[in-house]
């Protein structure tokens, strides 16, 4: 039944599905990072970080609200990525968020980019690349 052409087509579909999952999670991390920057802006306006003031802040502080809307969008995309992907590969890729956050903080808050952060960024990206590479090849 399964000719070489058939198995090649199956393989191509599997690779495409895998790339789609990883691509979706990378988009998730960009949304998550933007969300975190907004949440940071909002959290700075929280006087007390108690449970109730934080929960109330989600509604009353616009950057917190916007940040959590991005989180919601990120969650939906993540669910679609998980549909066909492995949790043990896709979940750690979320760590790319740290990379975007470091970049965005540099841009928006004029945070310093020191050697430790740069080294961390390079190591995280390498780790994600290792995870993302197809193990079945």
């Amino acid at each position: 039944m399964s000719s070489a052409a058939d198995s090649a087509a199956v393989e191509a579909r599997r690779v495409a599905a895998r790339r789609k999952g990883i691509g979706l999670v990378v988009i998730c991390t960009a949304l998550g990072a933007a969300g975190q920057i907004l949440i940071k802006m909002g959290a700075d306006r929280l006087v007390h970080a108690t449970l109730w003031s934080t929960l109330l802040g989600f509604i009353t502080i616009p950057p917190l609200f916007a940040g959590y809307c991005l989180y919601a969008l990120m969650t939906v995309l993540f669910i679609f990525a998980l549909k066909d992907g492995e949790l043990s590969i896709l979940y750690p890729i979320i760590s790319l968020t740290y990379v975007w956050v470091a970049g965005l903080s540099f841009w928006f808050f004029h945070d310093t980019l020191n050697w430790a952060k740069l080294a961390g960024i390079v190591i995280i990206v390498t780790g994600v690349a290792v995870l993302g590479k197809d193990a079945h090849k």
């Binding site: 949440i39 959290a43 929280l46 970080a49 108690t50 449970l51 934080t54 929960l55 959590y68 989180y71 969650t75 939906v76 993540f78 669910i79 679609f80 998980l82 549909k83 492995e86 949790l87 043990s88 590969i89 979940y91 750690p92 979320i94 760590s95 740290y98 470091a102 945070d111 980019l113 020191n114 050697w115 430790a116 952060k117 740069l118 080294a119 961390g120 960024i121 390079v122 190591i123 995280i124 990206v125 390498t126 780790g127 994600v128 690349a129 290792v130 995870l131 590479k133 193990a135």
Partner: protein, 117 residues
Amino acid sequence: MKTPVESMLLVLVASFFGSIGAGFLKAGAAKLHGGFRYLFLNFKLALGVVFFMGSSVLYVMGIKHGQLSVLYPLVSLSYIWALVWARVFFDEKFTSRKLAGLCLILLGILFVGLGNQ
């Protein structure tokens, strides 16, 4: 600056909740093959979202005080818990590639935390 034990505990629980949330999302996502409408009225997805939200709230509270070089690596423990759930509940394999990638990520996050002091 010392990191309060409460902050560490908050972030640790947040990391645990985050991984449980991801596990429920994965379990719920399997039903989506039935169609887009299964995104709603899906008990597992709802539980996953609740755990994710709980995790975010604790995370926001936790990172307000203390050193990020301590707190970031604690948050990233989430990926290790998730690896365990993936193995136990979804029959995903521990491969050397996954472990290598994860170790690099944990190391990288430690450096980013150090750089954020």
